[in-house]
Amino acid sequence: MTRIPQNWSLKEQNRQAAKQQQRLFDRAGCLVIELLGSPGCGKTSLQEATLPALDRCGVLNGDMASDRDIQRLKPFCGWAIQIETGNRCHLSASDWGVLSASELAMVDWVFVENVGNLVCPAAFPMGAHRRVLLVSTPEGHDKFTKYPTAIAAADLVVISKMELAPYVDFDADFARESIHSIKPHLPVLELSVRQQTGLEAWMIWLYLQRSKHCQSEVVP
């Protein structure tokens, strides 16, 4: 028997697929923001509040079934595409195959809403420039320590439905501490789409990412 060392890596495979995808986005000049979070955390509502304030947007939405979210978001963007994943629990880089180069050229912003799930999507980068984790206050301030992979993958945490915080005993300080025990310095925003609070900070974050991306990260 002979032992032959190997260097295949799952992470590297996923990273390569995501990177290849990101090059297409960069060539088309669009910034891709991925939203991760459990079912009902407010991913679609946040987009309903965001898209009308932005020009030239596209939306890709993953759900196990139905085109409900796309129907909600269509009025606010250039194109909105639903991927029904069937039994798959997450989107992957290959799902971008549904998009044509001309569709990418139409937009400056792409929002990807991954399947509502805090486990699998975190492990499969799709090539988004930024990954945003949404957790709503009714899910509980202790949710973060239970799903560390999602935090580790995120560039920003948005705590949504802040208007419900007093009714569900949501402790925002505890939440921040747990987030930072997994990923120190990770930015955290608190907002309420219903009461229209905290949305300015979210929009500023988005524009900041856009300018950072335009300045430094474009891959030729």
């Binding site: 028997m1 002979t2 032992r3 032959i4 060392p5 190997q6 260097n7 295949w8 890596s9 799952l10 992470k11 590297e12 495979q13 629990c89 997450h90 486990v119 699998c120 975190a122 492990a123 560390p148 992979t149 935090i151 580790a152 025990s181 997994i182 990923k183 120190p184």
Partner: protein, 112 residues
Amino acid sequence: MHEFSVAQQLVLAASQAVPRPELVREVGVRVGLLSGLVSESLAFGFEAAKQHSAIPQAVLKIQVAYRSGFCPACNLTFEHAHFWAPCPKCGSQDTQNQGGDDVQLAYLEVDE
């Protein structure tokens, strides 16, 4: 949750790594504690995935991989099982942490 698809990818990678895959007897894999994969499920998936593949004789050997932390102040490297951990010596939170979140094909044992 998606161990079977990872097992299929490993079987494919191992099958393509050598000119005569039917001679592969052992597939050595490092599974990171933070990879989100359950080793038992991966082993179960591998047994199913190798059937009707180019490496039906191969046995999966799993080695667990920890995350590596480094404290620049103490110049200390330490192993742990979290995404981030403070320095065990000085308690500093300014540590660099890497690894332990991947699945790697480490080696293949092949019959002569």
